[in-house]
């Protein structure tokens, strides 16, 4: 961290793009204080910082752990979110963890792979469920094809499959452009009418193995 810039969600997309473009490992830690309101655990962001290597990350966490140990009663820290964006080896991976001063030398993986659509939109939740069931990136058309049975089952009444298809496509496009963890890459293809196809994946499906820690 060279500038005191808090990590904010709208910056997240550009961080992902950066990590993937340069094939780099980077990440951030967000330090949170005690919640200002019971229903909003993330309401008191104290500070955010980036790290650019695994050693950097360990340094930052160790400094904070030492500080919390020295001042156990009044350290003022509630919890921390750790993000890792791993673009090494040409494939993007995303990891998220929770750390609290009590945990000391351990942290808890956050399972983004079980995320739910916060707005509970009908077609978007079908798309999100399909994306989370993937193991790797697939074409956008494949996602829609796989989401169709879900849509038929939940929203099927009285509407043709074509309508569902169009609405699912629309929901997917919206999510690709708004959700930072839904990651897309475009490839040229002679077989596609538009000359390109898009591969899409939800980066939350990868947060099982913390390989970036090694």
């Amino acid at each position: 961290m060279s500038k005191g810039v808090p990590i904010e969600e709208y910056r997240f997309k550009s961080l992902l793009d950066h990590a993937s473009k340069f094939g780099a490992l980077m990440g951030g830690i967000q330090w949170y204080g005690p919640a200002l309101s019971d229903t909003l655990p993330q309401s008191n962001l104290l500070h955010g910082q980036f790290w650019h290597s695994t050693a950097d990350f360990h340094d930052s966490l160790q400094e904070m752990r030492d500080y919390c140990r020295k001042h156990p009663d009044n350290h003022g820290l509630d919890h921390a979110h750790v993000y890792a964006l791993d673009g090494r080896g040409g494939a993007m991976k995303f990891h998220a963890y929770l750390w609290t001063p009590i945990m000391g030398e351990a942290m808890q993986p956050l399972d983004y792979g079980r995320a739910v659509d916060p707005h509970n939109r009908a077609y978007s939740s079908c798309i999100l469920e399909t994306l989370l069931a993937q193991k790797k990136a697939v074409k956008t058309s494949t996602v829609v094809k796989r989401a169709l049975p879900l849509a038929l089952q939940r929203l099927g009444a009285g509407v043709s499959e074509e309508t569902h298809n169009v609405l699912l496509h629309k929901a997917l496009t919206v999510m690709m452009n708004t959700e930072s963890l839904i990651y897309t890459r475009r490839f040229d293809s002679d077989h596609s009418p538009s000359g390109q196809f898009t591969m899409v994946e939800h980066l939350g499906i990868y947060d099982k193995e913390p390989t970036w820690l090694l």
């Binding site: 961290m1 104290l46 910082q49 360990h58 340094d59 400094e63 500080y67 942290m107 808890q108």
Partner: protein, 98 residues
Amino acid sequence: MATLIPLDLAAFEPKLTHEAQERFDRWRAIYDDMAQHCRQAGDWSWAGELVYKVASVRRMCRKMPQPVSLEHMDMIIELVNEHHRLPVKHNPVVTLTA
């Protein structure tokens, strides 16, 4: 209880000789103190700047022959003091408390 993954913080720690460690601890005491006061005053991002300055010594220690000797530690601290100037902060509360 959710699963926890262990962190090996000690493995990433640069090795220092006893004298170098003492020198480092003596040098960083004031920054730790300032960081603590800043946090108590609610300015966590300024404390982050101070911690970053301390951590830059560690980062340089990793690139030195291990364990880092006192001469190398002096050199590193001199370099950090010279080049890592903390930007001026116009916050009277923090200036008074730190």
